[in-house]
Symmetry: C2
Subunit: 448 residues, 2 copies
């Protein structure tokens, strides 16, 4: 379909994107509140309000005038990743720029564009029809990009006020721009730092080189030990609890069109790399990973640094428990720590297991049908995402409900990278699909 987004939706998104709501950076505390207030203002029809948590505030609201109809909780987040090196952005990250039908800004696709889809769905329905087809609560949080540390306690406190039959998440992503898809699984996340401490103070590398273990060398040895040459994780026990991929899963995956060469070219590497015995798509969607996101030690001068650090994240799949994987990594690091330095693992709070929803869950069926209504000529695919949606695991544990991932973000839109963007046609398509989804959910009354 040739969808044209409403100028109101685009203007609103531009205002939202201009607020640098970087949750990880304390300097943006005021911007975080401004972004929350902007969302609350959009939710005026639902009594939208900014509420305190132990960290950044959340925004909630509810429209409950559909007696007898099911209740859903719409989830999204208003915080964004840091922009990284701003010189790599073609236009400044917090000055939204529309080029070729795309809007470029930090947070455009993760998650402000998709949040605007959800907000506009409600506003358009109310404007056109005076009512929503079902009861809708809203929870737009401000800590997704830092692992939602305050969300568990908040959900416990607000359990009654957030009661629902299903969560519909505006976070997540379509896997490709050309193929409508519903995500049925997201990986879990475990984050930690490896810290290697050597001499009491930074040493002159000329005067002391050759006599002490250099923490940079020690860190490199430990990091190098984490993977085998073929890309397999070399940590004993890392794969122990991974649920084997069933034939049906492999078969469903095989229906998803994926060309290694196209993917290789898109990410811009000379060759793909990873665990033998699995297709690239299986690795991306169904295999746990261990990635060193940051190496940091010393400086570009003649120093043997006192300390060297690595920031490491592991993406978990169903069956893996964060605490067991952490213990395996700790044991590995202890075993591979070279002499002459002290090595420790600092785990970060907020680790979450993987999340999955059954392919035959009524909400997944409704989502597929909503996509069929909007993308008439294309059969929706059931896909998985390599990213993590900590909230989905929390909603299941604390609220006792499943989460339907129904985002109109697309996985190629430079999430967490320079020049993040959102396709503007997704705004109109998203609003149409969310409208249809709500109607179908109201009609079908899916069980929790």
């Amino acid at each position: 379909m040739a969808a044209t987004p409403s100028s109101e939706a685009v203007a609103g998104l531009e205002r939202f994107l201009a607020i640098p709501s970087v949750s990880v950076d304390p300097a943006h505390r005021g911007d975080m509140r401004r972004a929350a207030e902007w969302v609350a203002d959009q939710l005026a029809f639902a009594g939208g309000r900014v509420v305190e948590t132990d960290g950044h505030p959340a925004v909630v609201g509810e429209w409950l005038d559909a007696p007898g109809a099911p209740t859903i909780l719409v989830y999204g987040h208003y915080d964004v990743q840091p922009p990284g090196d701003e010189t790599e952005w073609e236009t400044p990250p917090f000055e939204p720029s529309i080029r070729d039908g795309r809007i470029y800004a930090r947070g455009a696709t993760d998650d402000k564009g998709p949040v605007v889809v959800a907000l506009q769905t409600a506003k358009t329905l109310l404007a056109d029809e005076g009512a929503l087809p079902l009861n809708v609560r809203f929870l737009i949080e401000g800590e997704e990009e830092i692992g939602s540390p305050s969300l568990p306690a908040f959900l416990e406190q607000q359990r009654d006020a957030l009661g629902c039959d299903l969560v519909v998440s505006a976070d997540g992503a379509m896997w490709r721009p050309t193929e409508p898809s519903v995500a049925v699984a997201a990986k879990g996340l475990l984050a930690l730092d490896l810290v290697v401490e050597g001499p009491r103070t930074d040493l002159h590398s000329g005067r002391h080189g050759g006599a002490v273990q250099n923490p940079n060398h020690a860190l490199a040895r430990i990091v190098a030990s984490l993977h085998r040459d073929d890309g397999t994780v070399a940590v004993d026990g890392f794969y122990d609890d991974v649920e084997a991929l069933g034939d049906a899963d492999r078969e469903a995956l095989s229906r998803v069109p994926f060309e290694d060469e196209t993917y290789r070219s898109e990410v811009g590497v000379g060759a793909l790399h990873g665990e033998p015995g699995f297709t690239t798509l299986e690795r991306l969607w169904t295999r746990p990973t261990l990635e060193v996101n940051e190496l940091r030690g010393g400086g570009p001068f003649t120093v043997i640094p006192r300390v060297a650090r690595a920031h490491v994240t592991s993406r978990l799949v169903p069956g893996q428990r964060p605490e067991r994987v952490l213990a395996a990594i700790e044991a590995h690091v202890t075993r591979f720590a070279p002499p002459g330095v002290e090595v420790r693992v600092e785990s970060h709070p907020g680790a979450v297991p993987a999340y999955a929803i059954a392919a035959d869950h009524p909400a997944v069926e409704a989502a597929a049908n909503a996509l069929r209504a909007v993308y008439a000529d294309q059969e929706p695919l059931l896909v998985r995402i390599g990213g993590t949606l900590p909230a989905a695991a929390l909603f299941e544990r604390i609220l006792g409900v499943k989460t339907l991932l129904f985002s109109f973000s697309t996985a190629d839109e430079a999430l967490h990278a320079p020049n993040e963007f959102f396709r503007l046609h997704r705004l109109a398509e998203g609003i149409a699909a969310w409208t249809e989804l709500w109607r179908l959910l109201a009609r079908d009354r899916p069980a929790a």
Copy 2:
């Protein structure tokens, strides 16, 4: 001896140290010029002047009113290392602080304190006696901490104006505070960056983890491959040209008192580490090293970085040629580069070979006698330094003269580290020793 530095010398040093003359940082260009002008002002008695080079300016001057006497060139530098993490400093790096007979500031011992020793020697002699015992030229440069890139061309241009029989360097260091010493060798220096490039842009480590080679992982593998577990450099050919340590050298080294346990405790590590088959002192003074000064890639968030880098320096010993060592490292890196990334070696300009002066050179004898005069109860030791004095190799090649390293810095004074300091009693001791050295050189007329 109980030496009390003159208040004039201390006050001058404080003013000098308050100027943040960080040569590597373009933001300090103005401070570099202020520091040069301060030195030129101190050299008013010698027509001191700031002269341009291809980089930061140098300061020169000359006092040539001792006809028939030899001519020396006093060398030092007014630039300093960056302060590093300022939170690790007990007092701010550019606000000199005197505590317990020490002056703390970036550059206190490397090389501003020792430069003040040389300047005050001349000023004190002229004030007390109206003349110097020999002809003295001065060259205080501003690029030592960045490898003296402009010095070769400057020496070529100024060859006649800098003509001398001997260079006396205020740069270098006594090896210990309690034992007077003359350094007879300094290691060479080769600096390079290892650059690992992976995907076209930073990637989300959840969405892309497991499918591409992570540049941080690749860099760690390469860095880990540079050394064996025992600390030996694993680069083929790295040790090829190293001149074997003769029995006499080993015997001289064995006379130098050195306790591994004391050293280990000083640097604050659990165990020393390095090449088997050599004592710690032999490793520090006579063995080439390869140290990774910086690891840098990605950030503390969920990213697979586009690029990861290591800054690497190698300290060379007599016999090794920088270009041969560089070629060996390049070949090694090519061999160990993992698939899926592009790896390159970026060598830095200004590599220098090691420098050595014979233990029986007349200038070394004069230096030892000057130390005997000041430190009456202690026999000076002949030592080597693991650091590099690029200028010494250049003076030999371009001016055709040897350099006597006669610094009153001490190797334990936190060079290149937080809380760098200089022992104030070295000011008076240094001035007394330099005065005696000049008298002895004038009397003995050492050959070039």
